[in-house]
Every structure is written in C-alpha cells, then in structure tokens.
Symmetry: C2
Subunit: 426 residues, 2 copies
C-alpha cells in the first residue's frame, strides 16, 4: 500500500536517523503511528524513515522532508515522493541481530519466515539471512523454529481421517523423501501405490528436475496431471489413500521458494537449511512418519558416510521436535543412474516393473522394493525383515499396478497406457 | 555484452549442471570457449550455464537448451533468450569459499573487489560477501588485501612532487580523517589551510551528510565548488598544497559505493569494513601520514574506550601494511555538537574563527587547533607539545584565512565572503 506525496523541505534537525513529517489527518486515516517506519522512494533512492505527525507543518498531500533527507539526497521541493506504508520490516532487525552473533527467539524467527513469505523484505536482505546458515549458524532449536515458521506461514493440509474406509480414521500419514542429488526417480511411482494399497495414507509430493535429466514430477507428468490444487489433493487422497503430485503447485512453505532463489545466486546450501526446508514441507503436508532417503558417495550431495550419519541424526532430532517420526535410509551410491534418458523412457521402466514385463529393470525394482519394505516395517504393516517380501507381493499380484492407475485417474489421467505404448518424442 | 537467441530444445543429457549449445561460428566470432559460463535470461529466470560448441545442432541465431533447462524452466521452442557473455564471475566461487570458512588469497580478494567495482556481480551476491565481514570474519591480512583491492580497482592519484615550490619535491602528503558518527565538521576547513600554509601537502576529501544535518562537504559547498575532477584536484594541490573537496566526485575505490548500498539494506557495518573503506580511499589519494579522529562515547559510532583503543590499533596495523603511517586521535564526546543548524550557519562559524571575530565559537576553535597541532607534530613541522601554539599562530596571523581563500579560488570560488555575509536561507 502506498501513496504519492509532494516533497516539502522543512528546517528540522532530528539528530540520528531520518525523519519525515506527515499531516495528522492523513496518518489517522491511514492508521500510521508516530515513530512508525515507512519506505520512501524517489528516483533510485529508497529509504526507511520515521514518521513524525504534524497538524500545521505540511498539508495532507505533502511529505515534510527533514534537513538530513533533502540535503543528502537532493530531493527538490514539489517533486513527487512515493511512500510505502509497510515500513521497515521487523525482520531486518532480527536478521541483523543474528548476523551479530545472537540466538533468535521463536517469535523473531516466525516474523522472519512470515515476512520472507510475504516478500516484505528484499532479496539482499534475504541473502544476509541465508548467509547466517553458514556463519554464525543456527542451533537445533532455531532450525526447528525455522521449519515451523516456514510451514505455518503457508497452508497446512490435513489428511488425517481422510482415508476411504471408516477403519482408516486415524491411520498414519506416511511419506518417503529423498534429499536428492542422485536420481532414484523410479522409486516413488512404485512405492506410493504399494503403500496406499497396504492401507496407509501417503500424500507424496515430488520435484521437477534440478540437476538430473528428469525429476519424479516430470516422469509422472507423462501419464497423469501432477499440478493439483490443495483441495483436489485432499480429495484424491481421501479416495485412494495416496497421491503422486508436484509439490511446486501446492505453494506450501512459500518462504522456501524465495530462499532457494537467493541461495541459487551462490550455488550453496547448508545442511541445516536442507533439513529445515524438508521438515517445513512435511509439516505442511501433515506427515506422521517418514522415510528419508540419504544417498551418499563421491558424486552425491552427501560425500562421506560420516556426513550421512550426521545428517541422519539431525533429521531424526529436528523431525522429532515437530512431532514427526523419521527413519533415515542411508545408502552408498557410485554415481547417477545410467538410465537417465528423459521422462518418457523412465516412465516406461516403471510401467515395465508394475506390469511384470520380462525387460523390466531389476536394479530399479530392487531399490524401490527395499525402500517400500522399510516403510511398511516402520508403519507396522509388515514384520521386521519381512517388508521387502510384502512389497514384492503387492507388485507381483498386480495390486500395485491397479493402485497406480486408480491414483492416476483420480488425479485426472485420461487413459491407461502400457509400457509398450511409451515412446520418446511424443 | 549480450545477444538474443532463439530457444531450441535439444535432447541432450549432460548429467550435473546446466548446458547450452551455441554454434561454432558464433562462438568463434564472440570469443566464447567451450566450458565457459554465460548468463542466460528468460522472463524472470536467470541462470549461469556452461557453453558447449556445435557445428550442426543449432544455427547461429539459436541457443540449444539441454533437457535439464527446458524441462525445468519451461522455455518453449522459438522464444527469445538473452545471453550475457560475461558468464559467471569467479568472485562467486571465492565468496562461497569464504562463506564456507576458508581464508581468501590476495588474488581472490582482488578479483572480488574488481568484479564488485565493475558491477559484474549482483547485489544479492555482494550481500553474501558483506555478511562475511561479521562471520566468519576477515583477518588483518585479508583486510589489507581488501583495502588494496578496492583502491587498485579504481584510480590512484599522485600528489607526490606536486608542491608549488621546488623545495616541496618529496614533501609528505598528509591528511586528517574522522571515522564519523559525531559532527566535528568545522575541523577540516580550519585544519587544511593551516597544514598547507605550513608547507605540507594535504589533499583532503570529505563526505556529505550521512547522519548529521550537514557534512563537511555540504558546509564547504556554501562558499566554493567541491565536486572536482581527478585532474583538477591534482592541479589545485599543485598550486596551493591543499584542497577541500567532496570525495564522492572522485570515484575512488568504486567498490565501496556498491558495498555501502548493500550494507544500508541491513543498517550495519563492521569495524573491519570501516577500516578497509577508509584505508582504500587513502591509498587512492596517495597519503603518507594520516591523523584518524576517533570520537567515542554513548552517542558516537564507537561506544567504549576499549573499542576506541582496539580500533586505533587496527588502523595503525592496517595502514602500516600499506605503507601509510597513521596516528589515531581518540577523544571522548558526550553527544552531537549543539550548533548543528545547517551548512550556512556552520560555515559562518568557521569564517568567524578564521577572521578572528569576537563571536567565534571557542570550542570549535580549540578542537580544530588541537587536531591541527597534532598533525603538525606528527609531520615534523612542530616540536612535540608545541603543535597547538604553532597552529594558533597561523590562525591569529591571518595566514590561515588567506590560505583558505587561496584554495577556495583555485577550486573555482567566484567571490570572497565574510562571516557577516553568511545568512541561512540564501
């Protein structure tokens, strides 16, 4: 919200800081208080200034500029000055406080994540905040507050009690998430149908490609719509127990998108930031239990087993603090999956597995069933050590294939295709 | 330098990173090498990508977008994509390295200050660099490199051997600088004429108001031009031994202006950054010996005597490393000068002192003569403990007044005015 005013030089010295005069009648109408900060803009100048109220010194359409302002910035009498009433966001002071080495309170962190979500602070200011993730760093309780703050600044979806049968009331909402960096994109489209067929709620969100040729979302999109509204997602999960959608369409934890765009400038992300982002999105999706896939190796995001272990412990601790039970699944990987040949051929591989065709990729099948089995064990749907076999049974019997298409049609797929129909270039 | 290209989706997977194809003929003409990074812009998307050369895959006016790019960023075939050939600046990697906790080499720091000067990196990226001043922080050798890098990325002025008489060859180039935060603006216009009358070279630059009603530059501007070109400044000093100009017009250490604009977003500056800025400007002005005025007190920039002492030692050490002898002049101050009533009345006070009028402000006179005396002692123009008296002699005899107007006229003043002529509102 902003207004244009006519500049008027006034002979006032205010000492430290920058001040403007606004007419009392105007400030009352706009709900501006004395001492409040507003942002004034003139040509390429942007300044946060303190408001002083006056009855007589300026008219309602004028802004009185104290000596400090008009002398330094050469704003002539009568020129138009734009005043944004938002003022200087509190988060600026909190970010500064953190940069100077102090711990932030929960309230302060919530203000920061909210004002980032609302784009009340500029990218330069967000960059100072992101720098704090490396130095001086955030402790675990701050990371929890950041994750909560990010989640609660956006929508929180509720899948509890949304199972299709009355005996699903109160069922676990589970999920699987990979920290990324190594393609394992075939896993989700195999895991979600099995888990939901087994009677658990699994509202899964995936991403589009970042460093690999195709993200899970890109692959799924070859056969079903993946950009669903918040309402539609809840409906799909209510009917089928699961979904396989693009998280980007849900606008959950909106501060994260802003923060990622600022991180991209420097191509760097801290582990704490990585954890906060993932935890925030899972809070927003109402998840109870989650399997976190942490691939490590020379070409992965996490290089060493020690880092994978440290990150596992961090996930467990931070997730626990927000009431989500997490199970890190660390695995050594040598390099990107050799089959990274685009979304259509990757979707064909997945359908080959579900259709039990002889040319199915056995490596992908094994990885997916191992993770699915683990998630079944965690959720009590399978005895320990028996998860893989249980998962295998769902695929071998064709129940996973049926569930895959059930979900796809609820999401809006128009026709059922076979692996043999999937040809690149269409 | 940049060009528009027609987007063309190509079926290429490059694994990690983002790649584009450009025609060989084009890359040869533009001097782009395979593997070089360029910045592509499409709508609000800006990406640094690696160039791959091709003879056949794209035409000269096309840019081939690998799968990673067109699938993630939804860039349609045929749309115009802007390519900036500058590529990803090296300083991004060095800033990232510092943020991760490593010390930077001299070469790396020089690249950063140069690319900031040339505006090759964006404000977000500069903000990450500025955050490093607080955490992890720079050590003294890095601060020296930053100051040198900032200075050498711009012009370096040479006043050596520019004295008016042959016996001035090799004379000291001296200066006085206040770290600011407390007005002591009358000092410079009294100090410079005395020092130059005493036979030293003093090319003084001052600033416009930042937090006070009027900066020294604003005050001087009421009676003489202060925005001089680099060439004109050298000429004035050659003729008069001194100058009193606005530093902002010289564009010295240009990275500093960019860094200050980014610091302003958070209203915070570290001591190391303050020292680096001042040292950089003094290197650029070719100063040999400098008196640094460090006022401290509850309302000053520096609050405690301990901080003033620490800052003094830092100045001495960093200035020494760049071959400048510095003399910190710490003093306790209670608050801003009560006479802060705008440039015209402050100029009148100064002229009252120079003209030896009975209504002259004795407090201002004493402060100015103390600092001037100290500088005379440092430069060997006065015995220790005798500087104040020597300075007083220059004022009392009228030689300071004559020198003031001599400098003013060389800078382009049109008429000599008396204190009694100075009236506000003109």
């Amino acid at each position: 919200m902003g207004l244009y005013f006519k500049a008027r030089k006034v002979d006032l010295e205010m000492g430290d800081g920058l001040h403007v005069l606004l007419n009392n009648e105007l400030t009352e109408k706009e709900g501006i208080k004395e001492g409040q900060k507003v942002l004034i803009s003139y040509r390429d100048i942007e300044l946060y200034v303190d408001v002083i109220q006056t009855d007589t010194k300026v008219a309602k359409d004028e802004i009185g500029l104290s000596f400090e302002i008009w002398s330094r910035y050469s704003i002539p009498n009568g020129d138009r000055v734009y005043v944004s009433m938002f003022g200087r966001p509190d988060s600026i002071d909190y970010i500064k406080k953190k940069l100077m080495g102090s711990k932030l309170s929960k309230d302060e962190i919530y203000v920061i994540t909210k004002e980032i979500s609302e784009r009340k602070i500029r990218d330069i200011e967000v960059a100072y905040f992101m720098a704090c993730f490396f130095n001086p760093g955030f402790d675990d309780s701050e990371v929890v507050d950041i994750a909560q703050g990010m989640a609660h600044a956006g929508d929180i979806l509720d899948f509890k009690n949304s199972g299709k049968n009355s005996d699903m009331k109160g069922a676990f909402v589970v999920d699987k998430h990979s920290i990324g960096g190594i393609p394992a994109k075939g896993v989700t489209p195999l895991l979600v149908p099995i888990i939901s067929a087994a009677g658990l709620l699994i509202p899964n969100t995936s991403t589009r490609a970042i460093t690999s040729p195709a993200g899970t979302s890109d692959i799924l999109e070859t056969v079903m719509p993946i950009a669903l509204s918040n309402e539609k997602v809840v409906e799909v999960v209510k009917k089928t127990n699961g979904c396989m959608i693009w998280g980007g369409a849900l606008k959950l934890a909106p501060a994260d998108d802003v923060m990622i765009s600022v991180e991209k400038a420097l191509h760097v992300q801290s582990y704490n930031k990585l954890v906060a982002s993932i935890v925030a999105k899972k809070i927003a999706m109402g998840i109870d239990k989650i399997l976190i896939d942490i691939p490590y190796g020379p070409s992965a995001k996490v290089k060493s087993p020690e880092d994978a272990e440290m990150l596992s412990e961090k996930f467990i601790k931070i997730f626990d603090s927000v009431g989500i039970e997490s199970f890190p699944y660390t695995r050594f990987v040598m390099g990107p999956d050799g089959r990274g040949i685009g979304p259509v051929l990757e979707m064909r591989d997945i359908l080959h597995v579900l259709e039990r065709n002889s040319e199915r990729p056995h490596g992908l099948e094994r990885t997916a069933l191992e993770m699915t089995g683990k998630l079944l064990e965690i959720s009590g749907k399978s005895a320990e050590g028996r998860g893989y076999d249980t998962a295998y049974g769902f695929v071998e019997s064709g129940r996973a294939l049926e569930k895959f298409w059930e979900i796809a049609f609820e999401q809006g797929a128009k026709k059922r295709v076979k692996a043999a129909d999937m040809k690149p270039g269409n």
